[in-house]
Assembly symmetry: C2
Homo-oligomer: 355 residues x 2
Amino acid sequence: MTRSETEPPPLTYAAAGVDDEAARRFVERIRPLARSTHRPEVLAGVGPFAGLFRLGAYREPVLVASTDSVGTKVKIAALMGRYDTIGIDLVNQSVNDILTVGAEPLFFLDYIASATLSEDEKAALVAGVASACREAGCALIGGETATMPDLYAPGDFDFVGFIVGVVERDAIIDGSRIREGDALLALPSSGLHTNGYSLARRVFSVGVGGDPAAERARLERVYPELSVSLGEALLMPHRSYLRELRPLFSHLKGIAHITGGGAIEGNVARMLPEGLAARIDRSAWEVPAIFRLIQREGNVPEEEMWRTFNMGLGLVFAVDPADVAALRSSVPEALVVGEVVRAEGQERVRVEYGA
Amino acid sequence: MTRSETEPPPLTYAAAGVDDEAARRFVERIRPLARSTHRPEVLAGVGPFAGLFRLGAYREPVLVASTDSVGTKVKIAALMGRYDTIGIDLVNQSVNDILTVGAEPLFFLDYIASATLSEDEKAALVAGVASACREAGCALIGGETATMPDLYAPGDFDFVGFIVGVVERDAIIDGSRIREGDALLALPSSGLHTNGYSLARRVFSVGVGGDPAAERARLERVYPELSVSLGEALLMPHRSYLRELRPLFSHLKGIAHITGGGAIEGNVARMLPEGLAARIDRSAWEVPAIFRLIQREGNVPEEEMWRTFNMGLGLVFAVDPADVAALRSSVPEALVVGEVVRAEGQERVRVEYGA
């Protein structure tokens, strides 16, 4: 018996599912996308191991950072084979997270992990990121595209974003100036944004490991109350509120981004100082059809809907009642949805009819 | 037939696999871990949607950012039920990435995604992050713990880090001062660090979807050439080089972190200016036993080993030959492994015997 007969076949990294050569090609391919987002502060051509960004002139700069994924909305994107919009979700949710303290975006990094996504699919993900970065004036200065066999099932991926912004220390919006009687205004959401997808997927049995063709067919259904297919409604990108709110920062006393962790009630509570509470009037806006459809199809209890989904509000902010008219004339979309009241007991936020 | 008989059973977010109440408890539990890393620049108690960090006094600050995951090393951690060290990998690889341009860490954010990890397991992950952050003087100012049913298999998780550091613009190490004849020094790695795990897992058939008990038994084997079990050798944390290199930054002309994307050859090439190449002498250090074991068990071709693994070098840096003696006396671990030569043809880095 010769030695070669007893040896296992030679193993290579590529045979193990990781193709370094392809990875290098991919980095070259997405370079122009990243470059399209660059601002003069980006030091290009330096540091292959990191992104460099020269901070401009600030009196007392405070850096503001946040990280998040788009949750299992990736499952909807993968089923629909639509990879070009979910990067918009990724950037916009981060932009909204840091604008809650009055910060403007500086730069962004993304992380894509999958076992089998094609180069085209990954490039579409980055293209979505780049387009939202350009819109926000935020430089895409780095990222990682990880190939992870055995961790992600075929077609699956995770998609994570990191943002850094800046705010002058004396311009931080921290809720401390909120007073009893302040008005609560809101801007509409564009859909589920990036929260509640594990519940929504269960309701419609999509992305839960069933037959992909059947799951796809369910996403293609056009319910009469939606103007688009279920899949398109669920994939609607998370909108950014930067353009609307940036000019108003100095008038905003507190901003809550309505995301996971309790939706309206949980997130509005987070912006309120001790001793104050919020009453929000459910009749001040119409809950969009997609939420009522989810509720009906899943027989989801009303309170569970309000705890899980944004129910039509993407952002809630507190302002002096004297500023309401001026704010609404500059941002006509903004609705008065409630007011700040004295806290009684443990309850911080009550969403009710006729607040 | 009453209406209740035709309705599906009520669905809740918790029934769909996402328990917001548990998520809130978890955030409270890890708060002291994050706080243990804080520096005076961290503005605590502000911004529930983002982390805030006051930048100190710099002449011309350049922010340096990087993101990465620990790759499929998570598979080894999960199989061994060891969640307390992999966070060290996550932080240290990021610290090393940004120190390549001479940056010092400021703050860090982590992202944990899984479907079924327990609170204890997730808290151990964050504890590892916090301990390495304290060691690096880096503040853990945010993070996200995502519960993603249907995306991650039971026991699986992904673990992503994001770091921001700072360097004065005129102190950036960018390789531009590297000259022909400069010495190449290296610091030893502590194991595979965070690269090549998909190949190593294939070689030993661990974390590839086989019977977990059998995979675990293979990790428990103690090979004669290793002083510890295979699993312990594979899980050895990625070491940080910050303590050793920070005092020397002004003497270092270029730094390559030996990670994915071509290991020694690929990463040393990245730090070299046009027209220059590197010759590295394989006999200058002994390749650690774990790499020879992987090679033997997997029958991995020699060149594939050098393309995929760090082979014992964690970091390579270029210095003036006149500085070598002083550098080696302050960092005795540093080995002279090669030199900078004129580039001939396409080849940038040659790793050979007797360079």
